[in-house]
């Protein structure tokens, strides 16, 4: 964790909806340079949507998102693509191209954007794969990888162009304990070694709190709490307490909204 500097990403008064359903209703948050910032909240709160808004894949209904001082949604497509070269994103599924090998997946952004000779690309790809421990798996196809390995390859690919920041979409979901440990360590060490800024969207409290420098908790379209991991773990705010401790009932009700059980049972189907 480095000292507080100017935020790399500034989200201000963000509103976004899908059809009639409001996803964000006035979200404000800052992502500081060099930090690992976690955005947490239960499933369905729009965490992935927030990453897509930051990456310019979705447009907000209102509000602004600035990345490195530039309003993402005011950029033309050329400038947006130039900005994206400096942003990596690790998708939950890995999003590897399934018809090419691990090596070619990592080489893909380099071949698309750099014009480097193939010998140089080979060296860079091998170094990136070495960093995630999968240099030996370079000839495998994505279908031959486990979920954890696919995410590590995707991480190597996201790092290929040496971006200024990486966004992780649920990096820990569905991982066995070993893969989980590897990913936690990788995200943390890559952030420090490459002087990255990282945004982790996750609902895995323990793993995320281990490596995050700052945590935002969002629910029902708003940031409901924020702070350092220790503060959040010991927070008295009912919502944060329920989420961080994994309590089954609380401000987020156990039951999905429904009419009274008695009425429902006595009513006609």
């Amino acid at each position: 964790m480095t000292s507080v500097s100017k935020p790399l990403v500034k989200v201000r008064d963000l509103y976004f909806s899908r059809g009639d359903k409001a996803i964000f209703e006035g979200v404000d948050l800052d992502i500081y340079r060099g930090w690992i910032t976690a955005i947490m909240g239960p499933s369905g709160t729009g965490k992935t949507t927030l990453l897509k808004l930051i990456g310019g894949q979705l447009r907000p209904d209102s509000g602004t998102i600035e990345v490195d001082g530039v309003d993402v949604h005011r950029l033309g497509s050329g400038d947006l693509y130039r900005l994206r070269k400096r942003m990596g994103m690790l998708f939950q599924s890995g999003a590897l191209l399934t018809d090419i090998s691990v090596f070619d997946n990592v080489a893909y952004p380099l071949r698309e954007h750099t014009g480097l000779p193939e010998t140089m690309i080979r060296k860079l790809v091998l170094l990136k794969l070495e960093a995630v421990g999968l240099r030996g798996a370079r000839d495998l196809m994505p279908g031959e990888l486990s979920g954890g390995m696919a995410r590590r390859v995707a991480l190597a690919r996201a790092m290929a162009l040496d971006p200024m920041m990486i966004m992780y979409d649920e990096p820990f979901t569905g991982q066995d304990p070993i893969s989980l440990g590897v990913l936690v360590k990788l995200i943390s060490s890559l952030n420090d070694a490459s002087r990255l800024t990282s945004i982790i969207v996750s609902h895995d409290v323990e793993e995320t709190a281990q490596i995050a420098d700052y945590i935002y908790v969002i629910s029902r379209g708003k940031v409901v709490d924020q702070g350092m991991p220790d503060q959040m773990m010991n927070s008295d705010a009912p919502w944060t307490r329920q989420f961080m401790k994994g309590l089954p009932d609380g401000p987020a009700a156990f039951h999905y909204p429904a009419p009274e059980l008695e009425k429902d049972l006595m009513g006609r189907s």
Partner: protein
């Protein structure tokens, strides 16, 4: 009453939105085609996937359609003592109508459905989003080469269909039913006109290739990213393409051959 009107209005707006999205996608795809001049390998790989891999079904179907035409044509023409014109009948039917139309229907079923499923699954598995976040435009990089490959492949596939159909008709007519060899070819040579028949057939198959590939890519790109969504999109590709081919064939035939 108002409810019905409102529902009709919603359906109308939905259809117009659909058409608008389709045309915007087409414009973006066309915008990506000049880039293929710099990277012809992308196009060649897709011509192989879309065109070459469709050859078998086209070749077999073409041969059998030609054989059936030879058989049916012979029975009808022989009633008027005109079996020597069998070559003309087979060739004209194939080059003008059956070649472009049946090849396009087979193309929609074989290559169109594959394109939709491929693009739809790329969407469902976030590969398209992944490309966007790598600053690679998926419309230019993934859709444009497939589109051009479809437009290039379709007339060639229709030509193969027609050529093998003629050979099938020849085999049945001349080989099995005893039509004169020389009459079969010479009548065909005299009566089949390069502009009237062959060029019009090529224009038809170009139009069908354009429309079928466009529909397939549109359905794949906008498929709901679930297994059910991709399955529905694949079905829609085959149904919409087939209807479009048959409808357009009527319009094109009326324009080309009508007085």
């Amino acid at each position: 009453m108002l409810d019905v009107l409102a529902r009709l209005g919603r359906i109308g707006i939905g259809i117009l939105g659909h058409i608008g999205r389709g045309h915007l996608l087409l414009l973006s795809i066309l915008g990506g085609i000049p880039l293929l001049a710099r990277r012809p390998r992308l196009l060649i790989a897709q011509i192989y996937a879309v065109g070459v891999l469709s050859m078998l079904i086209i070749a077999v179907s073409g041969t059998f359609v030609g054989m059936v035409l030879g058989l049916q044509g012979y029975y009808i023409l022989s009633q008027f003592g005109a079996e020597q014109t069998l070559g003309v009948m087979v060739a004209a039917s194939l080059v003008r109508e059956l070649g472009p139309v049946v090849a396009a229907l087979l193309f929609a079923g074989r290559a169109g459905s594959a394109l939709t499923a491929e693009i739809g699954l790329m969407g469902a598995t976030e590969q398209l989003s992944g490309l966007e976040m790598m600053a690679v435009n998926p419309i230019k990089r993934i859709l444009a080469p497939r589109f051009l490959a479809g437009v290039i492949s379709m007339p060639l596939l229709a030509a193969v269909f027609s050529a093998l159909g003629v050979m099938g008709g020849y085999f049945v007519g001349v080989g099995l039913l005893g039509v004169d060899d020389g009459a079969f070819w010479s009548q065909m040579q005299t009566k089949i006109d390069l502009h009237e028949d062959v060029y019009n057939g090529v224009i038809k198959s170009l139009v069908f290739g354009f429309v079928c590939t466009w529909i397939a890519l549109f359905q794949g790109y906008y498929a709901t990213p679930t297994s059910e969504g991709v399955s529905r999109a694949t079905t829609r590709t085959v149904v919409h393409s087939s209807l479009a081919v048959l409808g357009l064939d009527f319009i094109l035939t009326a324009l080309m051959f009508g007085d």
